[in-house]
Symmetry: C2
Subunit: 418 residues, 2 copies
Amino acid sequence: MKPLKPLDEALADLLTRAVPLGDAETVTSFDADGRVLAHDCVSALQVPPEDNSSMDGYAVRCADVPSAGVVLPVSQRIPAGSAGDALAPGTAARIFTGAPVPAGADAILMQEDCEALPGAADGLGQVRINTVPKSGQWIRRAGEDITRGAVVLSAGTRLTPAELGLAASIGLHQLQVARRPRVALFSTGDELVMPGEVPPEQMRPGAIYNSNRFFLRAMLLRLGCEVTDFGIVPDRREATIDALRTASAAHDLILTSGGVSVGEEDHIKPAVEALGTLELWQLAMKPGKPFAYGQIPRSGNDDSGAAHFMGLPGNPVSSFLTFALLVRPFVLRLQGVKDVAPQSIAARADFAWPKADKRREFLRVRHNAAGGLDLFHNQSSGVLTSAAWGDGVVDNPAGQTIAADDTVRFIAFAELLS
Amino acid sequence: MKPLKPLDEALADLLTRAVPLGDAETVTSFDADGRVLAHDCVSALQVPPEDNSSMDGYAVRCADVPSAGVVLPVSQRIPAGSAGDALAPGTAARIFTGAPVPAGADAILMQEDCEALPGAADGLGQVRINTVPKSGQWIRRAGEDITRGAVVLSAGTRLTPAELGLAASIGLHQLQVARRPRVALFSTGDELVMPGEVPPEQMRPGAIYNSNRFFLRAMLLRLGCEVTDFGIVPDRREATIDALRTASAAHDLILTSGGVSVGEEDHIKPAVEALGTLELWQLAMKPGKPFAYGQIPRSGNDDSGAAHFMGLPGNPVSSFLTFALLVRPFVLRLQGVKDVAPQSIAARADFAWPKADKRREFLRVRHNAAGGLDLFHNQSSGVLTSAAWGDGVVDNPAGQTIAADDTVRFIAFAELLS
């Protein structure tokens, strides 16, 4: 039997092959959520654009307020969005949060520290100032948040709502992003039946519903891919070769689940080998042992390159986890993301796992009300109940047992699915 | 000044108002990612449908293998997806992972524990069995994963890829989900300029780009909402009232940012009050103090109800966080999700926060390579740099300082944005 391949080594191998797609496209910020920046975003302005008030109150010169109780005429009113004039000496300006500090003023007084008084010829009244201001107080300085020329977002950043807002704040309404990876999805296995085609009570013995197709497609879409679903692999070798050849011409990645175990009856392995190259790995992870990586050269001119091929195990949980831990980083790297490995955090096990495995295990767990992790009772790879119940996995090293109260490494599904 | 309203109280108040939208719709599993189940999913079948093999190997009767080294003729071959016949006594069946265990067999032997021998009349050969099997070994029992009649997914579950796969595995290709909440998005503030309309070098003094619109829209879409963007609120009272009246007729929620601080110049507050009711809250959270909740009755018959109104603070980080902590749970509850509060987990602060605030603070932080949390240097609410840089927030209680190495509560953006 082949030696088991450590997961980290498998990931590193895959990432050396994941050459980022060269071509970028321009999208509006409204359509850019989840996409990956192809170029740096450089600020052509500073934020805030000028010194502005961080409070509703009054702008003054400190020199005019040497002691509490000073009364100053209010010479102007500066709402947010207006510019204001230079502050006449010996006066105060009524000012609101976000409004630019008028030239000459060097402090803002909160309105809670002031008292508006009636009267004064121009109708703006007077203000009594009940504290002594410190120079610079409640002023947000120009460029304090973003300096002109700063790289606000770097190429390779995966955009989330916060980044969309940040890009907008420097005036960008269009962004250059990596194009969507094009992924062809195949299902394989004579036992598979599509939900909706045969009702449960008419399922023939040995048949099971194809569930992998649904979560793989959804996960690919969440990663920004365009997905073509080729359905179930044809049951003849020549037809399989034709389907793979067609898919390779127009896709960056061909993804399949099932048919990669040793000894499995399947048309896809020999078909990939007939068209290109295929490596069969036995991963040192549980669930999720068998995994295939290959390349199918595109016919056409010499520059047309090759489509990547990945074969996931057929068991749903194995398929789900190998996707999350290997395909997801690969697809993100195709889009230019640098830091693609999922992040684990420390958490407390509120369960015991007394039997170590020689493979690195990914146990489906869920946070409980006490802040610890509970283990799903059935860790079989057969159904997705554990993944639907859980909020993540414990990444448990090979040969490691777990006792209650141990600190373990937790990877959240929220992270693996985003 | 009004007393500050604790965040938990504000959320509880909002959730009492978030009556789930009654109407459901049917979507295919392909289109259901992120939606919320309106009805329980009950399994009409058991998974696995029958006892099956969890290994590639041989099915036998234990009584036929009393000791290691027994040689049995191979009487049939059962790939996954086929049914097999009852196992003839004194024979073994070649069997593959997932294939049904033939009647009469009570154990599976891994192929690694067996040796295929040539010969035998029917061409299937013989097998030498090198270990003594235990009854039931390597057999996945019918219904082990899902029993017939079990509630596999409950009403109120928010669907992710794993749930889509799970639903498919019991044969469901269509799901009943809550309809999408319809949200009208308004921006407010005379200082706002839309990115793309004015280039940075031509911005008038005091003007800033509207960034909130971009992340609010993206966050609403992630929560499954239909969003109508009404742009910037008209600058006349009657026009504002008309726009709000129009929006309330066709939307479940009207969301705006800016214009809810005390003393702010704004048309939206009086317009909401002219049409319905409005409560102005001062939240005991930082950033994010001002918040407004109201209702605008729909004109028409008595049953047409009212649209919800929520006014977020205008500062980008305040707007982002009040959305994540208040609007997100509200919108999920409208769709019938029960457990809507974001989950915090314990983490280690690798920073100090020596100055306590009287408000509960949400500090933008990021995990470092050592597994602790680093603090973003600028915690101002003015720009989203901190939210784009960070991977979450520390939820720090009012009056609490933080020393390096302290355990703090962390909420991941991956959770708040999903």
